[in-house]
Symmetry: C2
Subunit: 376 residues, 2 copies
Amino acid sequence: MTPKIERFLAEHRADTPCLVVDLDVVVESYARVRDTVPDASISYAVKANPAREVLETLIALDSGFDAASMFEIETCLSLGAPPESIIYGNTIKKSADIEAAYARGIRLFAFDSEAELEKLAVAAPEAGVYCRILTSGDGADWPLSRKFGCELDMAADLMLRARDRGLDPVGISFHVGSQQTDACQWDIAIGNAAKVFDATAERGLNLRMINMGGGYPVRYRKDVPDLDTVGQTIRAAIARHFGDNPPEMIIEPGRSITAEAGVIETEVVLISSKDYANGVRWVYLDIGKFGGLAETMDEAIQYPIATPHDGSSEGPVAIAGPTCDGADILYENAGYQLPLGLKVGDKVLLLKAGAYTTTYASVGFNGFPPLKAFYI
Amino acid sequence: MTPKIERFLAEHRADTPCLVVDLDVVVESYARVRDTVPDASISYAVKANPAREVLETLIALDSGFDAASMFEIETCLSLGAPPESIIYGNTIKKSADIEAAYARGIRLFAFDSEAELEKLAVAAPEAGVYCRILTSGDGADWPLSRKFGCELDMAADLMLRARDRGLDPVGISFHVGSQQTDACQWDIAIGNAAKVFDATAERGLNLRMINMGGGYPVRYRKDVPDLDTVGQTIRAAIARHFGDNPPEMIIEPGRSITAEAGVIETEVVLISSKDYANGVRWVYLDIGKFGGLAETMDEAIQYPIATPHDGSSEGPVAIAGPTCDGADILYENAGYQLPLGLKVGDKVLLLKAGAYTTTYASVGFNGFPPLKAFYI
């Protein structure tokens, strides 16, 4: 919560639910993230929050961009981002989209399979490519699973094949999982990337870049390593695994740039109990899993909640959204407590909600409109 | 798959992903559902598919409507549904929305708590109300959990209180859970509703209606009881628990009206393996969990899939969507097999996808636009 957001909410009394993002915090977060690995270039993960105002703020800071789709690429370009500042980081692309991106000047692409490499060789001749390797996902609150990446031996083979197909085999990428809470995971992944560098070097191909993806954790309700710790771990791992020949580096922060900049204001629609015996209060908000809070799936991301009664006595609650869907429960087992004085109509704030909220909102599930957002 | 949809897809070659809904199937499904409990009136669960064309089709059949929000109510009214055909079935409503609905002529409201009853007493004086009771959710592929409903003793107290507050205490509702595969769950719930009728009658209040919600199962990949079986079970339960004094009845079908009417056409974007040892093929489609397939959460709803190579030899696959999100996996453990000849660029059909798809789609996660739909 910042004074700017507080003032905006007090003055505008917008209909809830709404997200308010303080762009000054985006600027500050960008600087803090940049300092973690000063030698890395930053490609902001556009998917975390693709609002025009956020992208313009980052373009003004000379940030680069990691795009997940041709739609995101067009958005960045339309706001003035130079094509060489944009990488096409999705390993799953239609040939037509690769062609379109290439035609617009994009020259660096992710892949993790032979089939994707083949598409790139045809649709993006001579472009730079990097191969994504698997990570375990251990330690991540929003892990990325085996959906992305390939094993190390396959990655080495694919990089050699990329050269044979006329592409520029630039390097290796990984992603330790979003909201990664164990700094050691970067060390493991950097070590694995170094192994691929060694394997291809033995076969006459020198790689030169590692893209370390995102994953920097945000302090929601639980304690997480701070950015300094993560940065130190990464710098130490680069030194240990690459010695005095460090690679070019890219990082792709998303959550760590925009999460803390945003606050969602929501209204308590109903407070109820299911029976006379059980003490659990059910608190229903006017935003839920399908209104922008998709990351509450399995109670993974736990937003800090502020109410007008904070400081008074609290009791356990289950918290749910406003739709007629049984899956639209935010927190039932995460141990949330809210003030006993909370009442229907109260405005409640979900903090650190500037990332991965607006674009997850459904187009109109149960008729409810998407999350409104204000950028100030 | 119907000839009409087949012809449409062949002739229009729309960009994928897209949903095509055959309105003739909506009409047929409506008739089949109506025959399950001929004495019940039907309130179509608008949330299942609120497309104008679907609603107009059902209005022409004199269907009623179960609305989850004031937005859905306005949609139905704007298409010509009379206000007395619409019930406001969400137990979680803002006072302002109750007031607005009442002003537009809505006279039947759901609730399951004292706080909601209080709102109704103030904002919808003398309106009809029904109290939702808890169900176990057992047997449902998309259960509704303890988010909705209250215990029986509380329901009886609340109905008496509704009378005292000047409302018209009409009856009791339940929902056995969406995609309910155990017909006995209706018998249990109807028995419970009858207990509340008895409890209030002893205290001088005769209830007259039960709203049996939705839950009629659709045959996706797994065998489920057919509608005749469910209908027989319901009619037998009404006879058993209410004897020769049956209540008025409402059913709220949604999935069973629109699911089978729709087919999603999608394209294979990528097929890959993660390593040399493991045989699992990953098949990536251009639609995923955030593009309309939210009900694949925990692999709950399993759409039958048709490919151009059906009939040839198959092998196991994991199936995922096109976004950079690790949660965007559709099926990893459900045992899907797809033809070994499947290739990038193939068009693949997700069958029985006309319910709970379009409105779940995100506004633009990863930049991908919402699911397009055609109603023919």
